[in-house]
């Protein structure tokens, strides 16, 4: 089995940024988003996130899967939230029983729970805001595997003040992935040669999980044994002294400062608007009340 990382240098502006600047700004924007419940603010952030998405130059065929995953997740979770009483966020707004658009009443069989999943204007507006909010923060982050070079993770986190051993552990993990994927393929073949059929796991759930052991035990134990040699090899080449140089060099350039500055500006503006002026609370567009009966 071959693993391919999703990252490629697509020659866009984003690819020229220092990864540290990318991380910092992404988190600044995330912490801005979560301060607001106003759909107008959300739309602004959504546009921001989508702008970044289009700046990556990713193709639909590359991200189709993640879009479907995110959409399904958002729909299921928002739907569930609406069904299960639909509080949350600024919450109380949803308690309101006015402006009903659609009304049902049903009882869940067995447990005899009465359910009143009424759809009110408030609920609908809230769900819409929520969908956009969840999408914005998802789009902000899900591009990372495609746009950040795996060979730079170590330096990036090392350069952001994380202890270098931890940062190196990440690098090493990336190094092991293709080898382990190959080992997995070999073990699967070796067990299939003994008549093992993974597609036909049978029995109850417990039995089925136990039947995965022939596949995972050899790979795990084999790599633990190999770990001893790797540790020796690293000790023999002086890993773990006080200081360490990373041969990859990251330098902040003007564009990186600009990128971080932009994120910081958004964050500060959000703080001021939220705490200083108290704007950004949940808001229902006037016209939506027209939908109510």
């Amino acid at each position: 089995m071959l693993v391919t990382w999703k990252y490629r240098n697509r020659g866009k502006f984003l690819d020229t940024l220092d990864p540290r600047a990318r991380w910092i700004t992404s988190f600044l924007v995330l912490f801005s988003i979560i301060q607001f419940w106003d759909i107008r603010f959300m739309l602004f952030f959504f546009v921001l996130a989508m702008t970044q998405y289009f700046m990556t130059g990713l193709k639909w065929s590359e991200t189709k899967r993640v879009w479907m995953f995110v959409t399904l997740l958002v729909v299921v979770i928002v739907g569930l939230n609406a069904l299960l009483s639909g509080r949350g966020g600024p919450g109380e707004v949803l308690q309101s029983t006015e402006h009903i658009i659609w009304e049902t009443n049903f009882t869940i069989p067995l447990v005899n729970w009465d359910f009143h999943p009424n759809i009110t204007v408030n609920k609908l507006a809230f769900a819409l805001t929520q969908i956009i909010r969840m999408l914005s923060s998802a789009v902000l982050f899900f591009i990372i595997p495609w746009t950040l070079d795996p060979r730079l993770y170590g330096v990036t986190f090392g350069g952001m003040g994380i202890p270098y051993r931890f940062a190196f552990s990440m690098d090493l993990a990336f190094r092991f992935v293709p080898s382990l994927a190959r080992d997995f393929g070999i073990t699967l073949d070796a067990q299939r040669a003994r008549g093992y059929e993974i597609e036909k796991l049978e029995g109850g759930i417990f039995q089925m999980i136990r039947r995965v052991a022939p596949l995972i035990v050899p790979i795990v134990m084999n790599s633990i044994i190999n770990g001893e040699d790797i540790t020796n090899a690293m000790d023999l080449r002086c890993f773990g002294l006080e200081k360490r140089t990373w041969i990859e060099k990251l330098t902040y350039r003007r564009r990186d400062y600009a990128w971080i500055g932009f994120g910081a500006a958004i964050f500060v503006a959000s703080l001021i608007l939220n705490y200083g002026f108290n704007v950004g609370e949940f808001w229902v567009p006037e016209f939506m009340y027209l939908l109510a009966k």
């Binding site: 070796a190 093992y196 040699d229 090899a233 002086c238 002294l241």
Partner: protein, 544 residues
């Protein structure tokens, strides 16, 4: 350290070491010294303490491995425990057995730079040093490659570059040839000789003594059970070492075996039929071509041959020739992109692997890839259980398989706690217990020492019950001794298919396919008019 020039690089006096979890010492009373530019071969059977000795020199003992240590190890006159880790690592460099387990970076550049990064050199100096080292080893072209995509030989050179970049004065090489095909192994050896000629002291651990002798080591140190048996020039080893335990040149064995009694007779259970009846065809490959993916180049090109009852087939070929890919078709683990593979008349795309496994047993190279059960018995029962045999049959097969590989006393031990050689036998038994007719083995002897693998191959070939045995190997001697038919692969093509004499007698063709002849093959060819068949050196000594 100005005194480098005057004092001996390495001096060991009365060294003993016992691992924490053991009661008996792993090495006892070792004395040796090595001069600048000297290449010392350290030989010995598996478990004789070679790796332990190396760990005492590179400082892993006692820094990482604890136990009882006594005696002295001096590097350039300084006792090893007075050196700091960074001094030590710039004096002694170590290349471990499997480069796959030594490489810590995803890219060649980072791998070679790793040690210098840890020493916190300046970035520009590191890059300069890396480039010099790569150039010295003639692998500058690999600089920006991913380490995962390198071939075995390239990977080893990169690992070596990572060690050499730190500029060690002493280089320890622990079985560096184990994962290489003979052509790459030979190339590596020549490189080691060149390093010694540049002034580095080298300790080369290897039990393929025969091959190392080609580069004329200056001295040999031979260990057995942790004790020194011989130390001196290579010539002397030939007459002190036990030739059953390490692989000496065939002429020497011939000479020594003559003076000794008849060897124990080797009785293979499979006898070549004089003529093949059509119903004896076990496997047929018909114009098989294969590629792993439509976007990847074809790996096998139009290969046709049959496997018949009575065949003991050795598959030879360079690294990447397609040997493993070919034999995986026998079981249907891979299906041909063009052509057909018929197992007793059934084409593989109409068969499941599980069903094919009842006829063809496939033993993978490393037992570590398949052992999982808490006891040997359960491990052996796994196959027959998957094949849905009755409990009585399972028990019968398991008992038979355990007995055949001589592991009765371990029936209830965990396979993961056994030694490598024992695990290898369990992995064979796990296939035997399915009572298959054809046994396919991918590099059955890799990673085992000479004594172990001979014992192991002898016992497999003496086992009753197989219609045919197929094994992939890089060791031409194995083909000479055991096979009655050879398939020679090169770059995905079947170059030759015939008796050992026909295929291995054609020196030109072997060279073209990057297969190196061995001393055993040479003397067998020389005496062939008299003997009429290939045999091991001991046997030859008495046949002449």
């Amino acid at each position: 350290m100005e005194n480098h020039a005057i004092s001996t690089p390495l001096e060991i006096k009365n060294l003993n070491f016992t691992y924490r979890i053991r009661t008996t010492p792993a090495i006892e009373n070792i004395n040796l010294s090595i001069n600048p530019g000297e290449l010392m071969l350290v030989a010995g059977a598996s478990g004789s303490g070679k790796t332990t000795l190396m760990r005492c020199i590179n400082g892993l003992i006692p820094r990482s491995y604890t136990g009882i240590i006594a005696g002295e190890v001096n590097l350039f006159g300084t006792p090893i425990d007075q050196l700091s880790m960074s001094e030590l690592s710039q004096t002694v460099g170590t290349l471990l057995q499997d480069p796959e387990r030594q490489i810590v970076a995803s890219y060649v550049l980072n791998e070679v730079a790793f040690g210098l990064e840890n020493l916190a050199w300046e970035r520009e100096k590191i890059i300069q040093r890396v480039d010099e080292t790569l150039a010295f080893l003639n692998i500058s072209n690999l600089r920006d490659r991913e380490t995962f995509t390198l071939s075995g030989g390239e990977r080893q050179k990169v690992a070596l570059a990572g060690v050499l970049a730190m500029n060690p004065k002493i280089l320890i090489l622990d079985e560096p040839l184990a994962s290489l095909d003979p052509a790459s192994a030979h190339e590596a050896l020549i490189l080691f000789r060149r390093l010694a000629d540049e002034g580095i002291s080298i300790m080369l651990v290897e039990h393929r003594v025969d091959e190392v002798l080609a580069i004329k080591p200056d001295r040999v140190f031979y260990l057995d059970e942790g004790k020194e048996i011989y130390s001196g020039d290579p010539g002397g080893l030939f007459y002190t070492a036990n030739y059953h335990r390490i692989k000496l040149p065939a002429e020497i064995i011939l000479e020594r075996a003559k003076a000794e009694g008849q060897p124990v007779k080797f009785n293979p259970a499979i006898v070549k039929l004089s003529e093949i009846q059509p119903d004896q065809k076990l496997l047929e490959f018909k114009n098989v071509s294969f590629s792993y993916d439509p976007t990847l180049p074809e790996v096998l090109h139009n290969i046709s041959f049959d496997i018949n009852k009575g065949d003991v087939i050795a598959v030879l070929g360079h690294n990447g020739a397609g040997k493993s890919t070919l034999v995986k078709h026998a079981l249907g683990l891979l299906k041909p992109t063009e052509g057909q593979v018929l197992l007793r008349g059934i084409p593989s795309h109409k068969n499941t692997v599980a069903r094919a496994a009842q006829t063809v047993g496939y033993v993978f190279q490393s037992p570590g890839h398949m052992l999982f059960a808490p006891t040997v018995k359960e491990e052996l029962a796994f196959g027959p259980e998957n094949l849905k045999l009755s409990p009585a049959e399972i028990k019968e097969n398991v008992d038979w398989a355990i007995k055949t590989v001589n592991m009765e006393e371990y029936a209830d031990s965990p396979p993961l706690a056994l030694s490598y050689g024992q695990q290898k036998r369990v992995s064979i038994a796990a296939i035997l217990s399915m009572r298959t007719r054809v046994l396919v083995m991918d590099e059955p002897t890799a990673g085992q020492d000479y004594w172990n693998y001979r014992f192991f191959m002898d016992s497999i070939l003496e086992m009753p019950g197989f219609g045919s045995i197929v094994f992939i190997t890089h060791d031409v001697d194995l083909a000479v001794v055991y096979a009655n038919r050879i398939l020679l692969l090169s770059e995905g093509k079947l170059v030759a298919d015939g008796s050992p004499k026909e295929v291995l007698g054609d020196a030109e063709m072997l060279k073209r396919c990057r297969v190196l002849p061995t001393s055993l093959l040479d003397i067998n060819l020389k005496h062939f008019p008299k003997t009429g068949r290939f045999m091991r050196a001991e046997e030859l000594a008495h046949a002449l």
